[in-house]
Each structure stands twice: as C-alpha cells, then as structure tokens.
Amino acid sequence: MTTHTSTHASTIADEIAEKTFQDVSLCYQCGKCSAGCPVRYYMDVAPNKIVRFIQLGFYEEALKSSTPWLCAGCQTCSTRCPQEFDLAKFMDAVRELALEKGVKVKEQDILKFHKAFLHQIENFGRAYEVGLVAEYKLKTMHLFDDVDSAPGMIMKGKLKLLPHVIKGRKAVKDIFIKTAEKKQTKK
C-alpha cells in the first residue's frame, strides 16, 4: 500500500532540486535509465520509478527503497537520459535525504561500508584499507568474508598494517565537522 505524503509535496522535490541543481519534472519516465542500469536486477524498484515516486510525492517509498543504495553511481543512466536528467546525482540526493530524515536503510551493509570508509578518512585523512575492512566487518559482523584475499594482500604489501596519517589530518577532520554542522543548522 502506498501512503500519499503529499503534505510535504513540494519539500522533498525541492530539496532534491537544491542539492542536484535540477528539477525532477524533467524526467518523462521513458525507462532508459533502468534499462541500462548494471545493478537493475538487484534493486527492489526500477531507478526511473524512484524519480516517479518523488514526482508524485510518494516520498516514503522512494527513501526506503533499496534502489538508491544499490546504485553504484556509474552514471550510465545520466549519460543516456534523453532528457539530460542526471539520475546518478539524483540518487546521491535521495540517499542523503534518507540519512537526514532518519529513514531505515534497507541495504545496511552498503551504508555501513560507506560509513566505515568515511570514518577512515575522517580519522586519517586517507582511506586506510585494513582499518576500513576491520571496521566494516565489525559493523556488519560479516567476519569471515574475503578471508581468501586479505592475508595474501598484506604479504604483497598491498595492505599496510598501519594507517598513513596525513599532516592535514585536522583540516580534513574540520571538513567533516563543518559539513555536519551545516546539516544541523539547516534542519
């Protein structure tokens, strides 16, 4: 069942327009984006339908779908869209909104991965892969995936046991703090 949350009708579409500098009404629902999307088969809803949901004000449906999280950001859709609608960027905005609005994200693993990744940058200024994998595994409790590759990688010098910490670590941390603050004040 769909609940029509049209009371916020303009708000989310507007927020997306603000974040992506484009209007969702551009999309005429041809479906070319979905047709070419490499991860289409894994999504619960076709990418074009997420746009449709936003056009019609079915926000909940859009924000809780797995589709934005499965979107790999490959921009195949944006490149081929006949209306020059940048769907990849639109997906970025939907995810961001889902986080801001505290919607329960279906693809928890993916979210945890992104969080772990950003956490590394926040702390060290750069992605620290061992830490990333460790943090991700702890978060998701997928402790034994990928054991096939990790140890070999350390031997090959591909994974360093200690993170590289950049000098501008504080500057980077600041970026995180400031962008987070901005979100607070906006709400």
């Binding site: 490499p38 997906m91 693993d109 992104h114 200024g125």
Partner: protein, 290 residues
C-alpha cells in the same frame, strides 16, 4: 629527451595500498618517458563513492581540498590515475565553477579561496600529453602477442560533458594508445559497462556477477588480456576472479593489466618491476625465443 613534461600527481588512496602496482608502474613508466611527476602535498582522500553518495557538500569539500593543495603548490596540471579520483576531482571542480553559492560554501569550509586553475587529467590524457611519438619511440618490445580488451569502466568518461574526453559510448583513445606497443585491441561490448565499483566489499555478489559478464565478453571477443585504468576496476576484475571461480568453476581466467603496466612492458621493464606479480591472476609475457 627534450620537451619533458612536468605534471602534478594525485596518487589517491588505492595507489598506496591495494593498487600499489599501479603507482609503481606509473612512476617507472613516467620516469622512462622523461616525465616528472610531483606529488600533491599532503593530499587527502577524495572521498570516493562513499562521500558523494551520502553527503554532497562533504564530497565536494574533500575533493576541493586537494585542488587547493595543488594550487598552493603552483601546479597547473595534475594527473589522477584512479578513474574514481579523477571523476570526483573534475566533477567537483566543475560544480564549484558553475554554482557560485556552492563555491562560497566550500571556500568557507576549507577556509581558502578556490581559484581552480589546476587541470586534472586522467591516465590516458597523461599519455596523450606526453605524446604518441614519444611513447612510440621508447617502445623496445613488441607486444603483438597481446589481444587486449580495453576497459574504460564508467567513471573515466562520465559525465561526458564535463570530462570532454573521448566518445562516451564507443571510446577509442586507450586502443589508440596500446596500438603503439604492438598490442592488438579487440572490439567488444562492455568497454563502458560498470563493474559494480564500490560495492566490491558490501555486495560482493553483485560485483562477482557484473565482473564475470564483462570478463566473459572480453574473452568471447578474443581477448587474452584486459587493460584497465582504475584501481577499483582492477580490484573487481582481477581480485574478484577468485570468487568468480568459486561460484562458476568453469570460469576462464584472464589477466588484467593496468594501462601503465602494459606500456611499461613495452618499454622493456619486467613484470616484477611493474608489480604485475602482485596480481591475483598471473600474467607473464612469453619468453623471447630468439
């Protein structure tokens, strides 16, 4: 050699870790071609997919800090060999250029003016800059035994109106480049098909499927090696072949080289020097018989 190129270098996180051989091979090839690479001072991670999929402002700020660092260093050109970094940097640069409010916001966050004069290049553009003639002259080994499927992935070319680099659907610039080494490019279907990119860890299943499809098509069109220009692509196409093999035991393995490695081989460097021995799928050139 005269007219040697000087360019900034933004290694990106992968090159210090999983893609160590990309860094290694790029540095040695550049040196051999008389190109001087200057690392960007104290660069930080561009935020990769994780930043822009979750926080637009953060993504732009992380990327732009690097541009500012490069600016401060007086760099005018800078190569970002990782397609994802390249994409993040060039897109953020573009966005801050066309949206003044965003630029102001980022400047406030970074506490620094953004002048934006640094021209960001991808790896293929770097070689174009160095010059086909120069590369060709330096080739000492004919790689005619290689039938290569050039894989551009998604981020090298897109968004095409920002990258302005090659044809978005049927690119040929990598092919033109490897022809200089004697390697033969194959015509195939998935030059620009996505391999699942950042889902490598969280949704390995997806990456395994997508990568398999891409590799199979290359093999079906007669390739005996794949050439990539991105550490993420390499991870997915090379490292994931183990998992692919597990799921599809009949899978036919195909080695995956970085563009710089392939060129390095043609310039006479050996596999080890280029880090090719670090790959999951083994690759070695046939030993000279003569």
């Amino acid at each position: 050699m005269e007219n040697n190129l000087k360019a900034g270098y933004f290694p990106g996180c992968s090159q210090t870790g999983t893609a160590r051989e990309y860094d290694l091979s790029l540095r040695s090839v550049a040196e051999k071609l008389g190109t001087e690479l200057t690392d960007v001072d104290d660069w930080n991670c561009c935020g990769a997919t994780s930043a822009h999929v979750t926080n637009h402002t953060l993504a732009n700020a992380l990327a732009m800090r690097n541009i500012v660092q490069a600016e401060k260093q007086g760099l005018t050109e800078m190569v970002a060999p990782c397609a994802a970094c390249y994409n993040r940097l060039i897109v953020s640069q573009h966005e801050t250029q066309i949206h003044p409010e965003l630029k102001k916001e980022i400047e406030a966050i970074l506490d620094s003016k953004i002048e934006n004069p640094v021209q960001v290049m991808n790896i293929v553009e770097l070689f174009t800059k160095i010059g086909a003639d120069k590369v060709k002259q330096a080739v000492v080994k004919d790689l005619k035994e290689l039938n290569a499927a050039c894989y551009y992935g998604c981020l090298l070319l897109r968004p095409s109106d920002i990258t302005h680099f090659d044809d978005a659907e049927q690119p040929t610039s990598m092919e033109e480049l490897i022809k200089l080494t004697g390697a033969k490019p194959v015509e195939w279907n998935f030059k620009v098909e996505c391999c699942g990119a950042a889902h490598s860890i969280a949704r390995k299943d997806i990456v395994v499927d997508l990568s398999k499809k891409i590799l199979d098509d290359a093999v079906a069109h007669g390739a005996n090696v794949m050439v990539v220009a991105c550490p993420m692509c390499h991870t997915n196409l090379d490292m994931r072949q183990k998992a692919i093999k597990k799921e599809y035991p009949e899978h036919k393995e195909i080695p995956v080289l970085y563009l710089t490695e392939l060129i390095g081989l043609a310039l006479g460097m050996d596999e080890k020097e280029l880090g090719i021995n670090l790959h999951t799928v083994k690759f070695e050139l046939k030993k000279e018989t003569a």
